[in-house]
Symmetry: C2
Subunit: 354 residues, 2 copies
């Protein structure tokens, strides 16, 4: 998604400027509290500046444009709020996943683990305090996302409506995160990976941002309903594509070892399908390596082969195709507006290789 059309590049720059302004102002306010608080804000600013495709803000703007929205000024803070929410979720997810690196740099907990190096001797204690700072950082960015929305000069009804959508996104994504986390230890098949994909990914990546953009452009209720269906299908297809790339993707292209999803034993739709389709002998071989923390590249190859041979990969591709078609169908129902860019989005999202 790096070859952006010119108007999207301009939008991206405006989003990044809005982010910078938000963090500069908050850092200034934090300085008045304590230099230690200033440090937390500087650290969050550094992290959000280190990466991210600003996918969610861009989804707001795409929907806004599709439904004929004409001035970006009041929409920008609302679009940008979606990136703050994303960042807050990443920061808290990283605590849950015990990850300390994000966008190739230290995340908040990773940075604070270093900050506290000289003053907290015990390593477990230091980790705990670093994670504590990260908990607060995530809280601040949730509040920050609302604050940025409220700072927009849009009218009352629109503001209430987009704030409601935003709250609903958080409700959905937290539920998705909970059951995704629990899927690691709950009984097999008690949690459906398609449900996880809908709530953990589709909700706040597509459903929330696209709905917000449509509301701001004044789309009709029925068109918004079709757009929601579109966003759900698109989001699930996006997540399923992610799962396939996570195992079969080219390391060079995606920039992280594909072996890691196999090492973690990541519970995905494709793995669910494997358990439905594979024979006993295949399952035994699969379990020898899947989730093995010390899996080799050769053994990861065996897992990939099993996912192919069992038909799990093909089934996943079929399901992606099914959701892709549903997305197109929902889009075709929309009465007013120019959906061509959202149409293009489907191919970009579902056929990507990174």
């Amino acid at each position: 998604m790096s070859d952006l059309p010119t108007h999207e590049q301009a939008a991206l720059q405006q989003i990044n400027e809005t982010i910078d302004l938000f963090f500069s102002r908050n850092t200034e306010d934090a300085t008045a509290v304590s230099p230690y608080y200033e440090q937390l804000w500087q650290d969050m600013h550094r992290l959000i500046g280190s990466g991210g495709k600003r996918l969610r803000p861009r989804m707001v703007l795409r929907a806004y444009d599709a439904f004929g929205g004409d001035t970006h000024e009041d929409v920008l803070p609302i679009a940008t709020s979606q990136e703050l929410l994303h960042m807050s979720l990443l920061i808290h997810d990283d605590i849950i996943d015990r990850d300390y690196v994000r966008y190739g740099v230290d995340n908040v907990a990773g940075e604070y683990f270093k900050t506290y190096y000289d003053i907290v001797e015990d390593e477990a204690e230091r980790l705990h305090y670093a994670q504590s700072a990260a908990i607060l950082a995530g809280d601040l960015l949730i509040a920050g996302s609302y604050r940025l929305m409220v700072s927009s000069n849009i009218g009352m009804d629109a503001l209430r409506a987009v704030l409601d959508v935003h709250s609903r996104s958080i409700f959905d994504v937290a539920g998705g995160e909970l059951i995704d986390t629990e899927a690691a230890f709950r009984p097999a098949r008690s949690i459906d990976a398609q449900v996880v994909a809908l709530y953990k990914t589709a909700s706040y990546t597509f459903v929330g941002p696209l709905t917000i953009g449509a509301i701001l452009a004044g789309a009709s209720d029925s068109d918004i309903e079709h757009l929601r269906s579109f966003a759900k299908s698109l989001g699930i297809a996006y997540q399923l594509r992610d799962d396939v790339i996570g195992v079969f993707g080219d390391e060079q292209t995606i920039g992280k070892p594909t072996i890691s999803d196999i090492r973690e034993g990541k519970h995905t739709y494709m793995v669910e399908e494997f358990y439905k389709l594979a024979n006993e002998e295949q399952k035994v071989r699969f379990e020898q390596h899947f989730g093995d923390k010390r899996v080799t590249v050769e053994e990861a190859g065996i897992v990939m082969r099993l996912l192919c041979d069992s038909g799990a990969l093909r089934k996943t591709e079929d399901t992606i195709a099914k959701y892709t078609q549903q997305a197109y169908d929902a889009l075709a129902q929309i009465q007013v507006g120019d959906m061509s860019e959202l149409h293009e989005l489907v191919a970009i999202v579902t056929k990507r290789d990174k």
Copy 2:
């Protein structure tokens, strides 16, 4: 604060009904996602129903009444939102403080530690997942607090204004929490306990709720400014009183062992003053026991004696008296409204013994 006048008892009941309705609705929505998500909402509902004086919602209503607000209907969800914020902060604070009990019952992490007992064998893992559920619970209640505010039917300008105050409360309290946590290991005297009291306690307990109530009642900007000064002074006095009770309070009255603040070595204004006032010999004896995880009742008695003898207790009482006076002075500046109940509040807050 248990002998409430009749109109406050009625308000308390309405607040609790609003809380129940909020959690029932969200639990219902969570059921549609997953029974495991339903469980998280049920658990939060159980926890918030287990205790809490609803101090912050009542502060909203007190200020609203003081400035002549006449109908509680649209104010109730906004008042109640302050309890959701409080609960979210408690849940995240408990993770940071590694506490598993709140209001005498299991908190979210404590409850999930039991929930996961049969499915996560390793205790450290189980604790991590229990804390992960608690992180999500806190996030949901931050979002929930905004959602409840937005659900009120108040006008546009008032809604924007109270949402801004709310966001500012979260900004302040997170800063206060960060520096309070860091005070445990940062160099001595690099963090001022009065600053911690202002940001960690006064901000979201008094400043936010009272300001919100005044805005909703249509108070003037200058009166709101005086009320903010009042709330800051009152909040600091409240926290300093809390610190004194934490060490010198009667166990029977406050319902928890006073020894625990001594055992934890809690960084307070009184302790700061001790270090300014005590002689070397007193400091040596103090440090033998203060922060000792296995401190005995007799040794705690030595610490109490040292706080008295050094003059730290008297200095703290003087400072409480100073802030109390400042609170009265600020209140006297207010031009319009009936401040008698806020006047009474000062004595209740600063002279309490639990």
